[in-house]
């Protein structure tokens, strides 16, 4: 308890500095008040404990017991950022270092009229007008302590707003880089995506640490998808293997909107991805995909909630995990079908590949169906590499290691295929193979 209170005191002290110090000069009163409310929620809620059903398998004590201070602005060179961005995608790029916008590393280029791709910090300096009513409308600040904490420290982030009917050919890349090297620092990245009616575009949101160090990333992304909009979102997590990453992605889909979000989690000691989507208009379609690799002592927790609040909406979920060593994973897929959400078609699938005997996965579908004319299917499988397939590949001349990697890659391929951008797929396929452990001794020869 004393450690936890030290952590709270630390956040409180940082919060007071943020609200009252030099940084607060010129910050609009609406922003100050938004943060104030959020901090009040965080203080009331506190960090979640494993006594809460939603956090049963994920103990955030390592985060709650340490006083993480706000990260300092830092500079990195363009080549370092360049390696973390996806090559061969010509779209706008926003780069953040330790949570702060880095204009010199970013390039927006020429975007069509009605498109805003910019630092949220710059926007907030002028008040909330540019982002109302979208900002904070989805994050669930009154119930979600981490989202509340993020909002309490709302200072910077990415704003992507695409006007009605506008189509962007290349996706917007948003990259959050941490330069932490062991000091206990926290960043609160924020991304706000506003897709006006019938717009169409993609967003690639990436998180990476430059060093193998402990730090804490507490991210919130809100996607407000207007009627008929098509948003293709990818989240790429390549944090340090000692880092803690808690993130909430919340989307609202208006009539006939199509939102696809694919997350690829390759890093982090403890990762919690909360992904929520509210299907708020008829004919909306939401697809959530995830691929994660948990080795060493990693814990990767994906919690999804799809709220079918309107009739004739479809949702698809495909999550796949590769677990090795002492890696652990949690998948909780909640699907709510409201009373009048007839003709709902919801599919959910979670598959885990265990490469070691110590690896563990806890998977739970959670269906709350109130309508009576719906199709909801869910399935979970946990398996090992197929020994027959391994032998088949070896009998064709492939070495054991080569055969294993080919099969692991094959397991991951359908999620990677859903990323939507070939250069991103290529980059992540390579990153995945680099992350895979060398032949574990558990594998039968």
């Amino acid at each position: 308890m004393t450690e936890a209170s030290a952590a709270y005191d630390g956040y409180q002290a940082d919060f007071e500095r943020l609200q009252g110090g030099a940084d607060a000069a010129g910050v609009p009163a609406a922003v100050i008040s938004l943060r104030q409310d959020a901090m009040a929620h965080f203080s009331r809620l506190g960090f979640p404990t494993t006594r809460l059903e939603d956090w049963r398998f994920t103990n955030v004590a390592p985060i709650a017991s340490r006083a993480y201070a706000l990260g300092n602005p830092a500079e990195i060179d363009g080549a370092q950022a360049g390696r973390l961005l996806v090559p061969d995608l010509p779209g706008p790029r926003l780069v953040f270092v330790n949570g702060r916008f880095a204009p010199s590393l970013s390039s927006v280029g020429a975007v069509p009229a009605g498109v805003e791709v910019r630092s949220l910090g710059d926007t907030l300096a002028a008040g909330l007008e540019g982002v109302a009513p979208h900002l904070v409308s989805l994050a669930g600040v009154p119930e979600q302590p981490f989202s509340a904490l993020n909002t309490a420290f709302l200072q910077d982030g990415a704003l992507i707003k695409v006007a009605e009917g506008v189509v962007l050919d290349a996706p917007v890349q948003v990259l959050f880089v941490s330069t932490a090297q062991g000091e206990a620092v926290v960043t609160h990245p924020r991304v706000l995506v506003i897709a006006e009616a019938n717009s169409q575009f993609g967003v690639i949101e990436s998180y990476a640490g430059l060093r193998d160090a402990e730090y804490f990333t507490n991210a919130v992304t809100e996607i407000d998808a207007g009627a008929g909009s098509v948003v293709t979102h990818a989240k790429v997590l390549r944090e340090s293997l000692q880092a803690y990453h808690v993130a909430s992605l919340q989307a609202r889909l208006d009539r006939s909107a199509v939102v696809t979000s694919t997350s690829v989690t390759l890093g982090g000691a403890l990762v919690r991805n909360d992904v929520g989507a509210v299907l708020n208009g008829e004919g909306a379609e939401c697809t959530l995909n995830g691929l994660y690799v948990a080795g060493r002592n990693q814990l990767i927790d994906n919690h999804t909630t799809i709220d079918h609040a309107s009739p004739h909406c479809d949702s698809h979920e495909l999550y796949k995990g590769i677990l090795d060593g002492d890696g652990r994973a949690v998948f909780n897929g909640k699907i709510i079908v409201r009373l009048d959400a007839q003709k709902t078609d919801a599919k959910q699938s979670n598959k885990a590949l265990l490469l070691s005997e110590r690896a563990q996965v806890n998977t739970k579908p959670q269906l709350e169906i109130l309508a009576d004319d719906v199709k909801c299917t869910h399935g979970a499988t946990v398996g090992q590499l197929d020994n027959d397939a391994l032998f088949y590949l070896r009998a064709r001349g492939l070495g054991l290691e080569h055969a294993r990697r080919m099969l692991i890659d094959a397991f991951a391929t359908d999620v990677l295929d859903r990323l939507g951008y070939a250069p991103l797929r290529t980059q992540l396929d390579r990153a995945l193979l680099e992350r895979l452990p060398a032949a574990a001794d558990e594998v039968p020869a």
């Binding site: 032998f391 088949y392 590949l393 009998a395 064709r396 001349g397 492939l398 070495g399 099969l407 890659d409």
Partner: protein, 253 residues
């Protein structure tokens, strides 16, 4: 080429092969026939290095090397090819991708240059032409959703591309309709050469109408109980295995 002496092998402590002696010379085609449970597939599996089989005694010399000391992949690179009775479905692995990886492993082992995608496709198309197959199988996941006939054709295509020195066909004819059977046997006949030896493991004589063997062996109870020319297969077809069972019983006494 291949010299098997006194081979005993089994699975989970159960003995299946009880002293096999078999000698296959370069360019020869041997048919191994026998009823269910006689040990045919075990023999094929042991030759390819299937890990679940334990060899309890005996020896296998392949081109002067101790085959049993070699890993499955090393056997394949040295030219041993097993056409699987049940080819394994591997969703997510592209058929052409696997074939190219396999070919390049073999080429690397032989000290030849690896083929790039273009040269590889040229070679595969040539083999498809020789085998009178079309390219429809190439861009699908390995055996995934293939019909029985497609799976067997795919095995023969792999064999043609990898150009093994010793090909072992494990019941490649099982479950094939007559058209597929012709395609498969045409493939094997096309690949017949003075350097390439073939072991055909089969339950039925039918395949041997199309691929004419030099020697036919009858496997019963884990032993080769009779060997002869191609006429032996016809005799088996006419009389069944029981007349040999009787003979084998006498031998055993």
């Amino acid at each position: 080429m291949l010299e098997i002496t006194g081979l005993c092998a089994g699975v989970d402590g159960k003995e299946i092969l009880r002293g096999i002696d078999l000698s296959v010379g370069p360019g020869e085609v041997h048919a191994i026939m026998g009823p269910n449970g006689s040990g045919k597939s075990t023999l094929a599996g042991v030759l390819a290095g299937r890990p679940e089989f334990d060899v309890t005694s005996g020896a296998i010399q392949y081109q002067g090397q101790d085959l049993l000391e070699m890993e499955p992949e090393d056997r394949a690179r040295e030219g041993v090819f097993l056409a699987f009775q049940y080819p394994v479905e591997i969703p997510g692995v592209n058929n052409a991708y696997l074939l190219k990886a396999a070919l390049n492993e073999v080429r690397k082992h032989r000290g030849e240059q690896e083929l790039d995608a273009m040269d590889f496709m040229t070679l595969v198309k040539k083999q498809l032409g020789v085998l009178q197959m079309n390219a429809d199988l190439l861009n699908r996941p390995v055996n995934d959703g293939f019909s029985g006939g497609e799976k067997k054709r795919n095995e023969i295509l792999q064999m043609a591309v990898l150009e093994p020195k010793l090909a072992i066909l494990d019941e490649t004819d099982s479950g094939l309709d007559i058209d597929a059977l012709k395609i498969v046997s045409n493939g094997v006949n096309t690949l017949r050469s003075p350097e390439r030896s073939t072991i055909i493991v089969t339950h039925y004589q039918r395949l041997l109408n199309y691929i004419v063997p030099d020697v036919v062996h009858v496997l019963l109870g884990g032993r080769i109980v009779k060997s002869g020319g191609k006429d032996l297969a016809l005799e088996l077809e006419a009389k069944g295995y029981s007349w040999i069972s009787g003979a084998a019983a006498e031998v055993r006494v």
